[in-house]
Symmetry: C2
Subunit: 486 residues, 2 copies
């Protein structure tokens, strides 16, 4: 292999005090031990060689796949507060203890507990106007999942006529009388035209998050939302929803896209549709859970932190393989790759597996709170929560000037499929550090398949491609390495 | 949506005579009908808008998925000369006749016929040295596929001891006496370190193509090669192999990676391994088949051609979904998108579905021969034969200067995931036009998953992601559109 020479020196302008100061001189100035391996000026051409080593190591003998296999198959799904989440804390702590971190610890955090209870039931009944009694052949079982945080229906369920709307806007404009006593079905499709599917998602997610509030305000008894996926299939996709204090709490569930289309067609045919919906979910008192944190202590600046994390909790279906088992594995494996390839970071590198991203963000808030209390200085907070697909971009929440200063990193990354570093959302967990960290970054892999699996039974190990996952781990190790040169 | 203004004018330098000449002026000079819609200078900002329209159309109402579904599920696999291939010719001709091409025709071509015959049998027998008779528990059925073009074994099969080598080089260096009378097992792994898996493939493919020649030269009775995939699984991957006239033709088959690893471990344990191999394949006289060609006749330069094609034949396992159903669909759908979006090309655009790429290249050779005989002028020959994954790059076989002139195209393509236009292999079919066309291009999608499916039972419709396929069709429509501005 031919290694390109990587020049000019990476001066990312992250640490104002050290900006532009040659690495070797800095090491001397701070009196760092000469036995610690650092790249000095003479070694700059080796940056590319070291990045090659990180990728080779990940692709030839990486642990991404075994780590994710254990999380998916030994633990499985792991909703905050569940037995699965507790197991995941123990498993990943044990995995990290075996990797050579300088320290691994649990960060206690009180988390909400929501339980799905017995499986949902939803029966759809279709009648032609004036045709009287419903025959058996006019009934089908809808594939639904209660939304996270939803209240249950009464034990006997709720049976009501369904009124369909294609957006929250349309719902808001309906007269209350048309909605009162009905089940509102919000059938808004994710817009397929966005090239990055996360944009489609963010333009449509409010139907799931706000649907119950808007429907209840009009007197609806329950709400069904079309699953947030671009795939037309039989899997409902759950996810977080909210209530508002002054507004009645009505049950809320997602329905598969195939069934959403079916209901839509029945209405186009002039049929009357009713649904009998039974949800058995329940909210419980907060309980104790943990963030899992590992640290490689920096040789030069032990009190300055580069963090990379994903969230350990998942929804309670599938195995949370892409969301966010992949992000947890990326984070652990990126640190492990740096260690196993003999790299001694200058700054402290932390792997953070956040608890409760899906329905509360309590873990990330607690991490941020402690960082504030302990007056920790964070150089960069990086998140991987967009699945285990092939690397494509890094998103940065920072001002344009700072983003410009990061562009030299593209040189070494381009050959590994990372083609852009640009302004964009970082991630829900690191966003909690917004006031304390000037550089929030998000890993952005190829997005086309993500919402086929997101929050659904399909998000299992088998939906992850081993090499794509391994490339992500190496790309993130490279990002940590490059940021650490500052 | 906001459309960026696309400036400066695209002057790709393809057509020397017209280089740098504004489009409107050219139209005037050639006296083209004013009713034909062309982009003139005032319309340049609309380039981006039109590209957006191509992508929107592909993602919202494209035919990529139905076209591929029909090819995979109504026809299935379609080895050259087989009933499947004949059906595929009829199906795609019918599909193209319904799309609005100015003409669709079949290009007759004599093709080779090779038949797999009854399924292969391979029994592996493992014995510890000095342990005598083989017990039943020491036998397993190996997952093998005869390589394309292989001769059969004698009816009763070949039973022989297996000698393992890790490369052709190692085989060449063995004394003939060690190889004579044995079955050679070439267990070279594809190198996982290449980021683009096609590089791994091209560095390893000679074990499959040349293995039988090298083994026979040393007196081997048959050859088994490790399947060319980076995945460790139970699916053998077939593909083309060759014989050399002066050297005995010995049977050749691919073995799954799981079984290759198993045999390797048995040898490490000091066991003796034998294989009883039975292949039932046969070569037959050439038969008549066809390339399928569709043409949208150019409004300004009807005698100058932009071609885009994939190959219609596949191996005789799976459904040839990625290889190369996807490329056929890309080619038809790109042309259809241009038509349905109201674009009247200036040059003639041809969709070519080549027959016999996999084991003979006869279709592409015949197309090239006729183009030469008819003195057709080809501006660009584009190929899609790397699967239906997310678009990433275009590869160009041309000199550096010409590649430089193509770079302005990246502006409009960047937002759709195409990040590079660079020197690289175009494709086996368009390479037949090398002497007659100065611009050969290949579509390069994300490569990580391709060899999980390549030439194996797993290459079925379900291994294709609908959106990824649709993005490829739109990217190729965009490439045709941009090249047509020259």
């Amino acid at each position: 292999m031919v290694y390109r020479v990587f020049l000019p020196a990476i001066t990312l302008g992250l640490a104002v005090g050290y900006f532009g100061c040659p690495i070797a001189a800095r090491a001397q100035a701070t009196g760092a031990s000469t036995t610690t391996k650092h790249f000095d000026r003479k070694e700059l051409p080796q940056y590319d060689a070291f990045i090659r080593t990180l990728f080779d190591s990940s692709l030839l003998s990486g642990q991404s796949w075994p780590l994710l296999t254990a999380l998916c198959k030994e633990v499985g799904h792991r909703l905050t507060g569940s037995e699965g989440a507790a197991k995941a804390v123990l498993l990943t702590r044990k995995q990290m203890l075996g990797m050579g971190y300088d320290s691994v610890w649990l960060q206690p955090v009180q988390v909400p507990v929501w339980k799905r209870g017995a499986p949902e039931q939803a029966k759809l009944m279709v009648t032609s106007p004036g045709m009287g009694r419903i025959k058996k052949e006019d009934q089908i079982d809808l594939a639904v999942l209660a939304l996270g945080g939803s209240v249950a229906t009464p034990m006997e369920g709720i049976r009501a006529e369904v009124i369909e709307v294609s957006s929250l806007e349309e719902l808001k404009n309906l007269p209350n009388a048309q909605v009162k006593g009905k089940i509102v079905f919000i059938n808004q499709k994710m817009d397929a035209r966005y090239i990055n599917t996360f944009e489609s998602y963010s333009h449509c997610a409010s139907i799931r998050v706000q649907g119950a509030v808007e429907a209840a305000q009009k007197g609806a008894l329950a709400v069904l939302v079309r699953s947030l996926t671009l795939s037309i299939d039989s899997f409902p996709h759950t996810g977080m929803m909210v209530y508002r204090d002054s507004i009645p709490r009505i049950p809320a569930a997602a329905v598969s896209t195939i069934h959403a289309d079916y209901m839509h067609v029945q209405r186009l045919l002039g049929k009357k549709i009713e649904v009998h919906l039974q949800l058995n979910c329940s909210n419980h008192p907060d309980t104790l859970s943990y963030n899992v944190v590992g640290q490689i202590t920096g040789s030069l600046y032990p009190d300055r932190y580069l963090t990379l994390g994903g969230h350990l909790d998942s929804w309670d279906v599938g195995e949370g393989a892409h969301d966010d088992g992949a992000g947890c594995v990326h984070s652990m494996e990126a640190a492990r790759l740096l260690m196993v390839c003999g790299y001694k970071p200058r700054h402290s590198i932390r792997t953070i597996l956040y608890m409760n991203e899906e329905n509360g963000m309590r873990g990330a808030r607690e991490y941020a709170r402690l960082a504030r209390v302990n007056q920790e200085s964070h150089l960069a907070s990086i998140e991987s929560d967009r699945g285990g697909f092939s690397p494509r971009e890094f998103h940065v929440e920072a001002d344009s000037q700072r983003i410009e200063l990061l562009q030299p990193m593209l040189g070494p990354l381009m050959d590994y499929g990372i083609h852009r570093i640009r302004k964009g959302g970082s991630g829900a967990d690191v966003a909690q550090m917004r006031d304390q960290c000037a550089l929030l970054m998000g890993f952005v892999p190829e997005s086309q398949r993500y919402f086929d699996y997101h929050h659904a039974h399909t998000d299992v190990l088998e939906s992850v491609n081993r090499r794509e996952l391994e490339l992500g781990s190496a790309a993130l190790a490279t990002l940590l390495f490059l940021l650490d040169q500052e």
